[in-house]
Protein backbone atom coordinates (compact mmCIF):
# COMPACT_ATOMS: atom_id res chain seq x y z
CA UNK A 1 0.00 0.00 0.00
CA UNK A 2 1.19 3.50 -0.76
CA UNK A 3 2.74 5.52 2.01
CA UNK A 4 0.74 8.40 3.39
CA UNK A 5 1.58 11.57 5.29
CA UNK A 6 -1.18 12.51 7.69
CA UNK A 7 -2.00 16.19 8.09
CA UNK A 8 -2.22 17.94 11.44
CA UNK A 9 -3.44 21.33 12.63
CA UNK A 10 -1.19 24.29 11.94
CA UNK A 11 -0.03 26.36 14.86
CA UNK A 12 -0.49 29.62 12.96
CA UNK A 13 -4.13 28.67 12.41
CA UNK A 14 -4.64 27.55 16.00
CA UNK A 15 -6.43 29.98 18.25
CA UNK A 16 -5.90 30.64 21.96
CA UNK A 17 -5.89 33.47 24.46
CA UNK A 18 -4.37 34.00 27.90
CA UNK A 19 -7.32 32.06 29.34
CA UNK A 20 -6.71 28.99 27.15
CA UNK A 21 -3.98 26.37 27.28
CA UNK A 22 -1.68 26.88 24.31
CA UNK A 23 -0.63 23.88 22.20
CA UNK A 24 2.60 22.65 23.72
CA UNK A 25 4.94 19.63 23.78
CA UNK A 26 2.25 17.51 25.46
CA UNK A 27 -0.28 18.36 22.73
CA UNK A 28 2.26 17.55 20.02
CA UNK A 29 3.17 14.22 21.64
CA UNK A 30 -0.50 13.26 21.90
CA UNK A 31 -1.10 14.09 18.23
CA UNK A 32 2.02 12.15 17.21
CA UNK A 33 0.87 9.05 19.14
CA UNK A 34 -2.60 9.18 17.59
CA UNK A 35 -1.20 9.67 14.10
CA UNK A 36 1.14 6.70 14.59
CA UNK A 37 -1.86 4.56 15.59
CA UNK A 38 -3.82 5.73 12.53
CA UNK A 39 -0.85 5.07 10.25
CA UNK A 40 -0.70 1.52 11.61
CA UNK A 41 -4.32 1.02 10.59
CA UNK A 42 -3.41 2.27 7.14
CA UNK A 43 -0.27 0.16 6.69
CA UNK A 44 -2.02 -2.98 7.98
CA UNK A 45 -4.99 -2.41 5.62
CA UNK A 46 -7.31 -2.00 8.59
CA UNK A 47 -8.98 1.23 7.53
CA UNK A 48 -12.36 -0.36 8.23
CA UNK A 49 -11.34 0.04 11.88
CA UNK A 50 -11.20 3.83 11.60
CA UNK A 51 -13.21 5.37 14.46
CA UNK A 52 -16.84 6.38 13.89
CA UNK A 53 -17.17 8.35 17.15
CA UNK A 54 -14.21 10.35 18.46
CA UNK A 55 -14.26 12.37 21.69
CA UNK A 56 -11.65 14.67 23.13
CA UNK A 57 -12.08 15.49 26.79
CA UNK A 58 -10.70 18.93 27.64
CA UNK A 59 -9.91 20.23 24.17
CA UNK A 60 -8.36 23.60 25.07
CA UNK A 61 -7.35 25.43 21.89
CA UNK A 62 -8.72 22.59 19.74
CA UNK A 63 -5.29 21.75 18.33
CA UNK A 64 -5.59 18.02 19.13
CA UNK A 65 -9.17 17.39 18.01
CA UNK A 66 -8.54 19.43 14.87
CA UNK A 67 -5.44 17.36 14.08
CA UNK A 68 -7.30 14.11 14.75
CA UNK A 69 -10.15 15.18 12.48
CA UNK A 70 -7.78 16.18 9.67
CA UNK A 71 -5.86 12.90 9.90
CA UNK A 72 -8.96 10.68 10.11
CA UNK A 73 -10.70 12.50 7.26
CA UNK A 74 -7.55 12.08 5.14
CA UNK A 75 -7.65 8.31 5.71
CA UNK A 76 -11.41 8.21 5.07
CA UNK A 77 -10.74 9.72 1.66
CA UNK A 78 -8.08 7.08 0.98
CA UNK A 79 -10.54 4.40 1.99
CA UNK A 80 -13.13 5.90 -0.33
CA UNK A 81 -10.67 5.89 -3.24
CA UNK A 82 -9.72 2.28 -2.55
CA UNK A 83 -13.37 1.33 -2.72
CA UNK A 84 -13.85 3.14 -5.99
CA UNK A 85 -10.85 1.31 -7.47
CA UNK A 86 -12.20 -2.03 -6.23
CA UNK A 87 -15.69 -1.24 -7.49
CA UNK A 88 -14.42 -0.40 -10.98
CA UNK A 89 -12.57 -3.72 -11.32
CA UNK A 90 -14.50 -6.31 -13.42
CA UNK A 91 -15.61 -8.39 -10.47
CA UNK A 92 -15.85 -6.22 -7.37
CA UNK A 93 -15.12 -8.14 -4.19
CA UNK A 94 -18.11 -8.58 -1.93
CA UNK A 95 -16.40 -6.63 0.85
CA UNK A 96 -16.19 -3.55 -1.35
CA UNK A 97 -19.84 -3.80 -2.29
CA UNK A 98 -20.86 -4.19 1.33
CA UNK A 99 -18.89 -1.08 2.23
CA UNK A 100 -17.99 -0.02 5.70
CA UNK A 101 -18.57 3.69 5.54
CA UNK A 102 -16.51 6.72 6.47
CA UNK A 103 -17.78 9.76 8.29
CA UNK A 104 -16.39 9.79 11.80
CA UNK A 105 -18.33 12.10 14.10
CA UNK A 106 -16.21 14.25 16.42
CA UNK A 107 -17.06 15.58 19.86
CA UNK A 108 -15.00 17.73 22.21
CA UNK A 109 -15.68 19.00 25.72
CA UNK A 110 -14.10 21.61 27.92
CA UNK A 111 -15.07 23.21 31.21
CA UNK A 112 -13.73 26.59 30.06
CA UNK A 113 -15.96 28.60 27.68
CA UNK A 114 -12.94 30.55 26.38
CA UNK A 115 -11.34 27.25 25.33
CA UNK A 116 -14.44 26.21 23.40
CA UNK A 117 -14.58 29.54 21.59
CA UNK A 118 -10.90 29.15 20.70
CA UNK A 119 -11.46 25.57 19.55
CA UNK A 120 -14.37 26.65 17.36
CA UNK A 121 -12.10 29.21 15.67
CA UNK A 122 -9.23 26.74 15.31
CA UNK A 123 -11.56 24.24 13.61
CA UNK A 124 -13.10 26.90 11.36
CA UNK A 125 -9.72 28.19 10.21
CA UNK A 126 -8.77 24.62 9.19
CA UNK A 127 -12.10 24.16 7.38
CA UNK A 128 -12.93 21.32 9.76
CA UNK A 129 -16.70 21.44 10.15
CA UNK A 130 -19.18 19.57 12.27
CA UNK A 131 -17.07 18.93 15.39
CA UNK A 132 -19.56 19.07 18.24
CA UNK A 133 -18.41 21.19 21.19
CA UNK A 134 -20.01 20.83 24.63
CA UNK A 135 -19.21 22.89 27.70
CA UNK A 136 -19.13 20.47 30.60
CA UNK A 137 -17.00 18.88 33.31
CA UNK A 138 -15.14 15.97 31.61
CA UNK A 139 -17.99 13.87 30.14
CA UNK A 140 -20.86 14.92 32.42
CA UNK A 141 -24.25 15.06 30.62
CA UNK A 142 -22.91 12.93 27.73
CA UNK A 143 -22.90 9.93 30.00
CA UNK A 144 -24.82 7.62 30.18
CA UNK A 145 -26.14 8.18 26.65
CA UNK A 146 -22.77 8.15 24.89
CA UNK A 147 -21.56 5.25 27.03
CA UNK A 148 -19.95 2.41 25.14
CA UNK A 149 -19.95 4.36 21.87
CA UNK A 150 -16.55 6.03 21.84
CA UNK A 151 -14.12 4.49 19.38
CA UNK A 152 -11.35 7.01 19.93
CA UNK A 153 -10.97 8.95 23.16
CA UNK A 154 -8.30 11.65 23.54
CA UNK A 155 -7.39 13.15 26.89
CA UNK A 156 -4.69 15.64 27.75
CA UNK A 157 -5.56 16.22 31.40
CA UNK A 158 -4.22 18.79 33.84
CA UNK A 159 -1.30 16.61 34.98
CA UNK A 160 1.05 18.96 36.88
CA UNK A 161 1.41 17.94 40.55
CA UNK A 162 0.01 20.73 42.74
CA UNK A 163 -1.72 21.06 46.11
CA UNK A 164 -5.25 19.67 45.77
CA UNK A 165 -6.95 23.04 46.27
CA UNK A 166 -5.37 24.30 43.03
CA UNK A 167 -7.54 21.86 41.04
CA UNK A 168 -10.68 23.79 42.00
CA UNK A 169 -9.27 27.19 41.00
CA UNK A 170 -11.04 28.97 38.18
CA UNK A 171 -9.29 30.10 35.03
CA UNK A 172 -6.26 28.80 33.21
CA UNK A 173 -5.06 26.82 36.29
CA UNK A 174 -7.79 24.30 35.43
CA UNK A 175 -5.80 23.44 32.33
CA UNK A 176 -2.73 22.21 34.23
CA UNK A 177 -3.31 21.88 38.00
CA UNK A 178 -3.56 18.16 38.69
CA UNK A 179 -3.51 18.00 42.50
CA UNK A 180 -1.57 15.30 44.36
CA UNK A 181 0.68 13.40 41.93
CA UNK A 182 -1.06 15.37 39.16
CA UNK A 183 -3.64 12.59 39.11
CA UNK A 184 -6.83 14.10 40.54
CA UNK A 185 -8.50 14.74 37.19
CA UNK A 186 -6.93 11.81 35.32
CA UNK A 187 -8.17 9.38 37.97
CA UNK A 188 -11.73 10.69 37.64
CA UNK A 189 -11.73 9.87 33.95
CA UNK A 190 -9.95 6.52 34.42
CA UNK A 191 -12.82 5.44 36.69
CA UNK A 192 -15.27 6.13 33.85
CA UNK A 193 -13.21 4.63 31.05
CA UNK A 194 -14.88 1.16 31.13
CA UNK A 195 -18.22 2.91 30.49
CA UNK A 196 -16.92 5.22 27.80
CA UNK A 197 -15.04 3.09 25.29
CA UNK A 198 -16.81 1.05 22.64
CA UNK A 199 -15.82 -2.64 22.44
CA UNK A 200 -13.29 -1.75 19.73
CA UNK A 201 -12.46 1.63 21.30
CA UNK A 202 -9.01 3.09 21.86
CA UNK A 203 -7.97 5.83 24.28
CA UNK A 204 -4.85 8.00 24.32
CA UNK A 205 -4.02 9.75 27.60
CA UNK A 206 -1.19 12.16 28.34
CA UNK A 207 0.85 11.54 31.49
CA UNK A 208 4.18 12.71 32.92
CA UNK A 209 6.56 10.64 35.06
CA UNK A 210 5.24 12.27 38.28
CA UNK A 211 1.80 10.77 37.50
CA UNK A 212 3.37 7.28 37.82
CA UNK A 213 2.22 5.97 34.42
CA UNK A 214 3.10 2.36 35.33
CA UNK A 215 0.68 2.55 38.24
CA UNK A 216 -1.99 3.90 35.90
CA UNK A 217 -1.33 0.98 33.55
CA UNK A 218 -1.83 -1.43 36.47
CA UNK A 219 -5.16 0.24 37.29
CA UNK A 220 -6.26 -0.05 33.67
CA UNK A 221 -5.19 -3.68 33.46
CA UNK A 222 -7.20 -4.41 36.61
CA UNK A 223 -10.20 -2.94 34.74
CA UNK A 224 -9.58 -5.47 31.97
CA UNK A 225 -7.91 -3.11 29.51
CA UNK A 226 -4.70 -3.58 27.57
CA UNK A 227 -2.56 -0.54 28.31
CA UNK A 228 0.92 0.51 27.30
CA UNK A 229 3.11 3.55 26.78
CA UNK A 230 2.77 4.38 23.09
CA UNK A 231 5.27 7.22 23.10
CA UNK A 232 7.75 8.74 25.57
CA UNK A 233 9.39 12.08 25.07
CA UNK A 234 11.56 14.42 27.14
CA UNK A 235 10.25 17.98 27.11
CA UNK A 236 11.11 21.10 29.11
CA UNK A 237 11.22 20.03 32.75
CA UNK A 238 8.97 17.01 32.19
CA UNK A 239 8.99 13.51 30.76
CA UNK A 240 5.89 12.87 28.72
CA UNK A 241 4.36 9.40 28.35
CA UNK A 242 1.33 8.90 26.12
CA UNK A 243 -0.74 5.94 27.28
CA UNK A 244 -2.59 3.82 24.73
CA UNK A 245 -5.55 1.89 26.13
CA UNK A 246 -7.92 -0.61 24.52
CA UNK A 247 -9.82 -3.79 25.30
CA UNK A 248 -8.33 -7.23 24.62
CA UNK A 249 -8.82 -8.26 20.98
CA UNK A 250 -11.03 -11.23 21.89
CA UNK A 251 -13.45 -9.07 23.89
CA UNK A 252 -13.76 -6.58 21.03
CA UNK A 253 -14.42 -9.34 18.48
CA UNK A 254 -17.05 -11.00 20.69
CA UNK A 255 -18.85 -7.70 21.22
CA UNK A 256 -18.91 -6.98 17.49
CA UNK A 257 -20.33 -10.43 16.76
CA UNK A 258 -22.92 -10.07 19.53
CA UNK A 259 -24.00 -6.58 18.50
CA UNK A 260 -25.45 -7.47 15.12
CA UNK A 261 -29.22 -7.63 15.01
CA UNK A 262 -29.78 -5.85 18.31
CA UNK A 263 -30.89 -2.35 19.16
CA UNK A 264 -33.45 0.00 17.67
CA UNK A 265 -34.11 -2.03 14.54
CA UNK A 266 -35.71 -5.03 16.18
CA UNK A 267 -37.38 -2.85 18.76
CA UNK A 268 -38.78 -0.51 16.11
CA UNK A 269 -39.79 -3.45 13.92
CA UNK A 270 -41.69 -4.90 16.87
CA UNK A 271 -43.46 -1.58 17.36
CA UNK A 272 -44.35 -1.53 13.66
CA UNK A 273 -45.71 -5.06 13.85
CA UNK A 274 -47.95 -4.09 16.73
CA UNK A 275 -49.13 -0.99 14.88
CA UNK A 276 -49.95 -2.82 11.67
CA UNK A 277 -51.03 -6.16 13.18
Amino acid sequence: MSSVVLPEAEIRNTNWSSDVYAPSDDSFALVDAVKEYLLQLHSKCLLQQLPRICLEVGCGSGYVICSAALAIQCLEQQQQQQRLVQASSPQPPAAAAAGCGGGCQFFATDINPAALQAAAQTLASHQVHGVQLVQTDLVASLIPRLAGAIDLLLFNPPYVPTPDEEVQRQGIAQAWAGGVDGRRVTDRLLAQLPDLLSPQGHAFIVTVSENRPQEIISILEAQGFVASIALSRAADEESLHILHVHRPAAAAAAAVAGASGSGNTTEAAAVLDTATG
Binding site: R52, G102, Q105, H129, L133, V134, D137, R145, N264
Partner: protein
Protein backbone atom coordinates in the same frame (compact mmCIF):
# COMPACT_ATOMS: atom_id res chain seq x y z
CA UNK B 1 -25.36 21.57 17.96
CA UNK B 2 -26.66 18.74 15.82
CA UNK B 3 -29.55 16.50 16.84
CA UNK B 4 -26.95 13.72 17.03
CA UNK B 5 -25.47 15.57 20.00
CA UNK B 6 -28.87 16.41 21.48
CA UNK B 7 -29.62 12.69 21.45
CA UNK B 8 -26.68 12.02 23.79
CA UNK B 9 -27.20 14.92 26.21
CA UNK B 10 -28.99 14.48 29.50
CA UNK B 11 -29.68 16.68 32.50
CA UNK B 12 -27.32 15.45 35.20
CA UNK B 13 -28.44 17.55 38.15
CA UNK B 14 -28.19 15.52 41.34
CA UNK B 15 -31.42 13.68 42.11
CA UNK B 16 -33.01 14.20 38.68
CA UNK B 17 -34.52 10.95 37.40
CA UNK B 18 -36.18 12.03 34.14
CA UNK B 19 -33.61 14.35 32.63
CA UNK B 20 -34.06 12.99 29.12
CA UNK B 21 -34.73 13.94 26.44
CA UNK B 22 -34.01 17.62 26.87
CA UNK B 23 -36.64 19.84 25.29
CA UNK B 24 -35.34 22.36 22.80
CA UNK B 25 -36.26 26.01 22.57
CA UNK B 26 -34.83 27.17 19.26
CA UNK B 27 -33.94 30.81 18.63
CA UNK B 28 -31.61 30.38 15.66
CA UNK B 29 -31.26 27.31 13.45
CA UNK B 30 -28.71 26.83 10.67
CA UNK B 31 -28.26 24.15 8.05
CA UNK B 32 -24.87 22.84 6.94
CA UNK B 33 -24.18 20.16 4.36
CA UNK B 34 -22.68 16.93 5.65
CA UNK B 35 -21.49 13.89 3.69
CA UNK B 36 -24.24 11.33 3.20
CA UNK B 37 -23.13 7.91 4.46
CA UNK B 38 -25.86 5.22 4.60
CA UNK B 39 -23.69 2.79 6.58
CA UNK B 40 -22.95 5.37 9.22
CA UNK B 41 -26.65 6.23 9.46
CA UNK B 42 -27.62 2.59 9.89
CA UNK B 43 -25.06 2.05 12.64
CA UNK B 44 -26.05 5.34 14.32
CA UNK B 45 -29.70 4.37 14.19
CA UNK B 46 -28.94 1.50 16.57
CA UNK B 47 -27.22 3.90 18.98
CA UNK B 48 -29.69 6.74 19.18
CA UNK B 49 -33.00 7.02 20.97
CA UNK B 50 -35.54 7.44 18.17
CA UNK B 51 -38.27 9.02 20.31
CA UNK B 52 -35.84 11.63 21.63
CA UNK B 53 -34.68 12.24 18.07
CA UNK B 54 -38.26 12.96 16.99
CA UNK B 55 -38.68 15.39 19.91
CA UNK B 56 -35.58 17.23 18.72
CA UNK B 57 -36.60 17.13 15.07
CA UNK B 58 -40.01 18.62 15.90
CA UNK B 59 -38.36 21.48 17.78
CA UNK B 60 -35.94 22.20 14.94
CA UNK B 61 -38.65 21.95 12.27
CA UNK B 62 -37.16 18.98 10.41
CA UNK B 63 -39.47 16.16 11.49
CA UNK B 64 -41.40 16.01 8.20
CA UNK B 65 -41.30 12.52 6.70
CA UNK B 66 -39.77 10.94 9.82
CA UNK B 67 -41.93 8.00 10.95
CA UNK B 68 -42.87 7.18 14.55
CA UNK B 69 -41.16 3.83 14.12
CA UNK B 70 -38.60 2.70 11.56
CA UNK B 71 -38.69 -0.61 9.70
CA UNK B 72 -35.82 -2.71 8.34
CA UNK B 73 -36.96 -1.78 4.82
CA UNK B 74 -36.78 1.93 5.54
CA UNK B 75 -33.19 1.54 6.73
CA UNK B 76 -32.37 0.30 3.22
CA UNK B 77 -34.33 3.10 1.54
CA UNK B 78 -32.34 6.12 0.37
CA UNK B 79 -35.39 8.37 0.59
CA UNK B 80 -35.79 7.70 4.30
CA UNK B 81 -32.05 7.75 4.97
CA UNK B 82 -31.73 11.19 3.34
CA UNK B 83 -34.36 12.64 5.66
CA UNK B 84 -32.73 10.95 8.66
CA UNK B 85 -29.31 12.24 7.56
CA UNK B 86 -30.58 15.79 7.16
CA UNK B 87 -32.26 15.95 10.57
CA UNK B 88 -29.46 14.11 12.42
CA UNK B 89 -26.41 15.85 10.98
CA UNK B 90 -27.28 18.91 8.89
CA UNK B 91 -29.72 20.94 11.00
CA UNK B 92 -27.89 22.76 13.79
CA UNK B 93 -29.18 24.70 16.77
CA UNK B 94 -27.04 27.85 16.93
CA UNK B 95 -28.86 29.80 19.63
CA UNK B 96 -31.48 28.61 22.08
CA UNK B 97 -31.93 26.49 25.18
CA UNK B 98 -32.08 22.88 26.24
CA UNK B 99 -34.65 22.39 28.96
CA UNK B 100 -34.72 19.59 31.53
CA UNK B 101 -38.14 17.90 31.31
CA UNK B 102 -38.21 17.28 35.08
CA UNK B 103 -36.89 20.48 36.64
CA UNK B 104 -37.30 23.02 33.86
CA UNK B 105 -33.61 23.93 34.27
CA UNK B 106 -32.42 25.69 31.12
CA UNK B 107 -29.04 24.94 29.56
CA UNK B 108 -28.16 27.75 27.14
CA UNK B 109 -26.86 27.05 23.65
CA UNK B 110 -24.66 29.90 22.44
CA UNK B 111 -22.86 29.91 19.09
CA UNK B 112 -23.87 26.29 18.70
CA UNK B 113 -22.25 25.20 21.99
CA UNK B 114 -24.50 23.85 24.75
CA UNK B 115 -23.42 24.80 28.25
CA UNK B 116 -24.13 21.79 30.44
CA UNK B 117 -22.10 23.00 33.44
CA UNK B 118 -23.93 22.77 36.74
CA UNK B 119 -23.95 25.24 39.63
CA UNK B 120 -22.34 24.08 42.86
CA UNK B 121 -25.71 23.40 44.49
CA UNK B 122 -26.77 21.16 41.60
CA UNK B 123 -23.82 18.76 41.67
Amino acid sequence: MKLLTHNFLQCHIKGVKNGYPLNIEAVKIEERDADFDPDFLRSMFKRIDWKAFLVGAQALGCAEGLPQAVSEEQLQDDGFLQKFHHALLEVCLEEGSLICPETGRRFPVVKGIPNMLLNEDEV
